[in-house]
Each structure stands twice: as C-alpha cells, then as structure tokens.
Symmetry: C2
Subunit: 486 residues, 2 copies
C-alpha cells in the first residue's frame, strides 16, 4: 500500500530545496566560464582601470583622533556617539570543556542584521551577477570584488548621512522587486563578532539595470575562475555565492589544474542521491548532540573588566601578543558613500588557515567537517572546516594541545592541495585579516575522525547552507571554493 | 547540457530529508490504527488500571513551604538552592513595533537542554512507540501519555537523587544504541520560557525491550486516534511526534469524522511535489525577512524589578489579573522518580486557543502560518498557528487591538471545525495550562492575509520541523493533529 502510494510521485519525490528551474539556470551560469558582457581576459584591465580612477588613503591613528568614537568612562567599551554601527566590548566564556574551559576577550558587538546582496540578470539566456569594485579600509590591497550591495542597517537608515547605497532598491524588501533565489541569515566570525549575522540575498531582475562605473556583470563561471586568485573576491561575495542552490552540474570542459579522479568524485558529491557516508538524519542528530552537550556560557562584560588585555593610545592588545588587536584608522576615499571617516578595526596578529580535508569515499568526494563552538555563534555550534585557526597561537605547544589536523595540513604535499588561495576577511571590520584557504585531498590512511568531525558530501553542505546557523563563514568560503573546482 | 546531466538522476532527485525507508515505515505505522500488542479497545482499560495503581496528591502551598526553593534576597528571583532545575526571573522587552512595543514580565529560565525521547520497535513488521503513563503535577487530570523518556539534564545527572530514569540508556547518547529516526532541538512556549529548548528524539531499537508496568506499545495510527481525545497525549509526546518524517501516506480506511474533499486535499498536501502556493525559497526568504526586521531586544532583569506584578505568600501575579501567576505546589506520587517533592509552577489565568485556518487552494490543503515574535525564542521569530493567544487578555478591546483572526476563529461554524481538542501544556512547569487546539476550514472568501502570514502545505511544515527554531510548540502540536486527520 505504501509502495502503491509512493508511485504517485514516481517513487522519486522532488527535493523541495535546491532542484528546480532556478538551480538549473544557476548551474548553467556556473558552467559558463566566459561572457561577451565583460570577457574574462578583459577583467583585469577593467579592475585596474577602476583602481586608477580612485584614490584611497588609510592610516592608523590614535583612539583620541577618532571622530565621534570614544571609550565609555564606566565600562571602557568603545563605541560611536550615535549608539549605532558597532561597539567593542568584553565577554567571559565559562563552564566549557576541553583544554580551555573558560576565558575572557574583547569582541565586536553589532546586533544589527546587515544586507549582503547580489543582483543577477540574464544576458543571452545566462545569469550574470552584478559585482562591485569596492574599497574597504581593512583589505590589505584595499579594493576587492564585493556583492552588488553590502549595507549595514545603519546604511539603510542613513545614520552616516552619506550617499544612498546604489542598487539598494532591489534589496530593501527582497522579493518586492525581482525574484528571490536565496535569502538566509548567516553568521560571521564567532571569535571576533558577538552574534553578528548578515542577510545573504540573491535577487534576479528582468528590468533594465543601469550599470554604474564601479560595477560589472560576471557569470558564476567567471566568478569561479576568479576565486582562484588571492585577495580578489571579498568575504561578503564568497558567503553570498555559497548560499546559491545548484542542480547536478552540467558538464564543463576539463580544467587542467584539477586532477580527473578528484573532479569526478566532486561531481558525484554534488548529486542529491550521492552515496553519502551519513544520512541527513544522522548528520542532523550529530549536530543536535553537539549543541545539546555544549555547556559553555557566554556573558557580556565591560571591556575594562577583561584581564590579560591592555589598552594604549593606539591599540587594545593581548598581554601575550596573541589573537588580535583593536586599532583605529582614518580613511579617505573618492568613491565610497562618504569621502572621509574614521573607525576602529580588529587586526589579527597573524594570518589564519582554514582547510577542508577531502577524501574520495565510495567514489564520492566527502569533506571532513568540524562541529565547532565559538562564543559569538547565536546557537553555540556551527560547522567549520577541518582546520580553522591562527597557527602561531599554538607555536611550541605539545601535539595534544594543537588543533586537530593542523600539523597534517601544514605537512600536506603539493600534489594533495586541490585548492589554495589567500582571501581577506571582512575589510570593513578587520585590518589585514588574511586566511589561507585550502582543499587538501587525503587518502584512506587517515584514521577514523574523532566524534566532533564528520565526513559530508558537498551536496549535504549545500542543503544545510540554505538555513541559518549551520555553516560558519570559513566553511561557506570553502564551499564556494569547492564549487569553483568542478 | 544541463538537462542531459539532470537525466542522471531521472530528473527527480531524491529528497534528502524525509523520503526513504524510514519515512515509509513510519507512514505504515501511522496507517495501522490498531495492534494486537495493546488493542485500541483495551487502551482505556489499561490506562484506568494504571491510574488505580497509583496515588497522587498535588496541593498548593505557600512559597515558604517549598523545600530548598527560595527567593534570592538581592533580586527576588525564585530558584533552587542547587542552582539547577529552573529559576523564575524577569525580562524587559524593548524597541519592538506594533501596539505593545515594550513590556516587562516574569519568565521561567531553564537554560539546560532536556531530552524528550520516544523509543520505537517493530512488532510484526509495524513500528510501535513505547509510551509512558506519567503523572505531572500541573496536568488538570494529573496523568497523561508521555514519551518513553522525559528527562531534564538534572535527571541525567541525578541532581534530585531519585531513581534512574527508565529506558534512558537508549537516549543518553542517541545513535549509540539504536537508530536515530529524528533528533532536533525545539523551542517551548516563548512567552513563558526564556530560551528553553528540548531535544526531540525518536530511536528505533531491535533489542528485546522489557516492558515496565507503566509503559505500553502503540502504533502511530493508534496515537493518531488518541490525539482526538482531550488531555490525554501530553505536550512532550505531541512535539516529538510532530518531528517524525512521513512519506506520501498510504491509503487508509475512510474516517467518517473527516469530510472527504478536505481529506483528499490533506493527502495531496503531504506530497513533496504538492502544488504549494509558495516555493520553499520564498518561504525561507519570508522567514529571513521577519527575523531581520525584528528589532525587539530582550534583557534579563531581576524579578523584583518587574513592575505591574506583585508577590504574596502564595503567588506572583499580574496587577491587572492577566496572563499568569507563579505558584508553589507540593506533590506526592507513588511512581515518580522521587516520591515527594515541592516546586513552583506557572499557572495561566485562563485557557488558551491555538488554531490553524486551513483552505483548499488549487486542490491542496494549506494552513495559514504566522511569523510570530515571542521574547523567549532563541532566534526572535518562529512559525505559529493562525491564532495563538489567551482570548481573555483582549476582552473589551477594539477589533483592531485584538489578535488577527481570533474573532473569526470564535465565530467558526461547527461544520468548519475539522479538528478540535483540549490539550495540556507541559505539566511539569505549568499548572492547569489548557489550550483548545483547532483546525478550521475556511473558504476562498478569506481576504489575502497580511504580510506576517503565509499559506503553507503540511509537507512544507514537515520539511521545516526537521530543523531547530522554525515551528513553535503550538504549531508542532497542530502539525501532529493534522497528521491525525488523514
């Protein structure tokens, strides 16, 4: 009787999430590696031309030189006199397990939900993304490729009294102008931000869109190629791209950089009926177990009450020289909403690494995912790459006290490295925050992982990223990079 | 090219969430309305026999008679001397929109994640659920049918030094003993609990399970029939049942209480490719928009600092006589883990209502879902029934100040009411908290709903309930009741 009724849908019910005409059209765009709109060979020249048109200056200043930012006399918290934008406060983490059950630290608190939006439109039947040439003061190279719109709620409400955000009309109320292809709240760095989330939105329009000087139309395939470059596609672009649904990808030409068996396994990993090591029910149970077992509590405290950190006229820093500093910069720009401003930035004291270990298991590519606790996550645990850390923090520690798989990552042979690029984290909040992102192929000699790790297919990551709070921002960058490899 | 590659999966990729052998087996159990294990006609006698075996006494006591519970002298918060179980504290809600942008209230804070687990096992090829005859002091009729295991974290760690929780070994680490069929963190009443969540788990075992006196095996079909009774299937059972995945249901015998066109539309509403009014992408975008636009902030305050509420020797109550009271009870029981205890309970001052409006749209049953903000939700907004309130709170208010659709619910003609039963909310925390649950069929004359409402299929609710934080506990009860109607 059951079988009889299942037959109504041919026994193969459709996936409510990611298959449908939109996913097919997005996959077609991803398979289109060039475009007559802005040919790939002309992109670099366009980008350089934009760079020449603008002048930017970013220089470190003392905190006292910040305009309308200051330290609260009672708490030492650093904030803007309007009460908007963000504050730098303290948190105390207590009651956790593991080698470091509790600590205190400064953290950026930005409770507003910002908007990261990419506008897409068909040209000659292929979807193109409207990408922005954008300066952010914290980027090492200042300018990178950003989403169409990258707006804090303060931008929306014009707290900074600057020029209106271009193309914002498509995103002010997603779905009211254009069709929604993706729209999900996603977390950002949970070690640096307390409960920060941005709305990741992709809107398709069929209207005529006037093209501003600092914007260009690129296919998803062109963006996949650009993801191979260091420090070009910014964090906000990467996270929005990671939220797009893809159908089983169309065949694309062989890409010589990627070895063929790896690529075949990757293509199989994108299929919804891939031979996954774990069912989605098992994975959801594993995540639930990690959240339910997490006992660490996070409490907001005054920045003045954070021990082991000190403040000078120019920085808030860790006594041991680890982690990060909070500094102040003054910015002059000729193509931002306002021409001159000053703000605090968080400066990591060293570069980070983030890597997925990938293995062909049963012919299907799986990546090794870590259920990770960070104090700034809204719901305790998110899924992180196999390795995600600042390696210098652990210099000189015994192997047992170093992050799992870090040493294997650092020792990986070049032929294991299927993807590697340096990307910047959010240049509007972080100064020179570089992370080396890698996908490293490992073989069956890797022992069974500990319980806070699971092998997952790329498709399973894609099914989860349509919901809030599953993949952390580093895992989302790597998901976008994995899609750049097929 | 795309179409060519889609053809690999027959163009109909499988749903990673809810179709598979388990969902088919669960549907078969749901279609099995009787069982030789405990025949349906013998259930009432079994239940009465259990009731006769036990004696229970619950009586109101003054707060000073509570054993090891007391008011913190600094804050007035009510708590247990161990620091465990739960506390009654205050919250301030600020910055919201709508008719009541801010308020303060007492609330139960129970940060621990509890476990609600149903053990299932096949008998003669049909899955049966191990249900428990259980006394809870707040239930109007004291005893109801509860999940196999209903354990706070304090139970796990034996804070109350009582007897071990029966069958807990299957749930102490879901998946290590038996197979996981569902496992998800779900919220509970966000107006009464601050950030409370329980783990909803269903585990299948193939072991021999010794049957304790206070337990019985029932098919899902038997439970569906029992859901028609008032105050029998407790809240914890209802929420766990709502989390189970179902395939397209098998044909079952006509059920005379349910009119045929309604039932046909309901069956179509369960299919994954049902003609839903909105795609899942559109619904997720709508939810994201509601969360991103929610500006209310919730701040913990001392219970002593909650204005408009007063405390006597026997209750904490609202000056206007609205909402709820906090009271204390002493309990004596012969079959609980401990034989005698005292505790605070939250007593609503009146019964609540919760109802889904249901309509056949394009031949497919849709229910009208409300994106609702409650201060205790972990992430601001969850999906609630069309109507969910205590009606008396709004007596005498102008129509504009009364909850949307409440008057239409109260005026519904008997022939519109497809389901109606009174169920109790969590009897371990709430005293006599009764809610009348209804599914009311409406026709096309209902005007287009306001933006915080959306029509959704039953299948779409089922896809979302596999993840945390989408459906509130009243919507989950009604989802279980909708499944009782096919």
């Amino acid at each position: 009787m059951v079988a009889q009724n299942l037959a109504r849908t041919g026994g193969q019910p459709t996936d409510p999430y990611s298959v449908g005409p939109d996913a097919v059209r997005l996959s077609r765009s991803a398979a289109t590696l060039d475009s007559p709109i802005l040919p790939q060979r002309e992109f670099a020249a366009w980008f350089e031309e934009r760079r020449r048109r603008h002048t930017y200056q970013v220089r470190r200043i003392p905190f006292t030189a910040l305009d309308r930012w200051g330290f609260d006399p009672a708490t030492g918290n650093l904030g803007h006199e309007s009460g908007r934008f963000f504050t730098v406060e303290g948190i105390a983490v207590e009651g956790g397990r593991g080698p470091v059950p509790g600590w205190t630290q400064p953290i950026i608190r930005q409770p507003e939900v910002g908007m990261l939006g990419i506008l897409v439109k068909e040209f000659d039947g292929v979807l193109h993304c409207l990408m922005q040439f954008k300066m952010e003061p914290g980027n090492p190279n200042l300018v990178q490729l950003s989403p169409t719109v990258q707006a804090t709620r303060s931008n929306f409400t014009r707290v900074h009294r600057g020029a209106p955000v271009k193309y914002l009309e498509y995103f002010a109320r997603p779905g009211h102008r254009g069709r929604v292809l993706a729209d999900v709240l996603q977390s950002e760095q949970g070690s640096w931000f307390l409960h920060k989330r941005n709305r990741n939105v992709v809107i398709e329009t069929t209207e005529d869109v006037p093209l501003d000087d600092d914007y260009c139309w690129l296919t998803l395939g062109q963006l996949r190629l650009l993801l191979a470059a260091d420090e070009l596609v910014n964090m906000d672009s990467r996270t929005v791209l990671s939220c797009l649904p893809f159908a089983v990808p169309p065949a694309v030409g062989e890409r010589p950089a990627v070895e063929s068996m790896f690529r075949q396994a990757l293509l199989r990993s994108l299929a919804p009926d891939a031979g996954a090591e774990h069912t989605m029910t098992e994975l959801l149970s594993w995540i639930t177990n990690a959240k339910a077992g997490s006992e660490a509590r996070v409490r907001r405290i005054a920045l003045d009450d954070v021990p082991d950190w000190y403040r000078t006229g120019t920085e808030i820093a860790h006594a041991g020289g680890l982690h990060f500093e909070v500094v102040a910069v003054e910015v002059e720009a000729s193509n931002r909403e306002v021409l001159r401003w000053s703000q605090p930035l968080l400066r990591p004291v060293e570069s980070g690494v983030a890597a997925f270990f990938a293995a062909r298991r049963n012919g299907v590519l799986h990546v090794l995912v870590n259920a990770r606790a960070e104090p700034g996550f809204v719901d305790r645990i998110e899924l992180a790459p196999t390795v995600q850390c600042q390696p210098g923090t652990y210099a000189g520690r015994s192997p047992a006290d170093r992050p799992r798989y870090l040493d294997q990552l650092l020792a990986a042979a070049p032929e294991q490295v299927r993807y590697r690029a340096v990307h910047s984290e959010e240049g509007g909040r972080f100064l020179n925050a570089r992370t080396t992102y890698s996908v490293v192929e490992v073989d069956d000699s890797l022992p069974a992982p500990p319980d806070d790790f699971r092998w997952m297919t790329v498709r399973q990551l894609g099914d989860l990223v349509r919901h809030s709070g599953y993949l952390d921002v580093q895992a989302r960058t790597l998901l976008a990079c994995l899609h750049a490899l097929w």
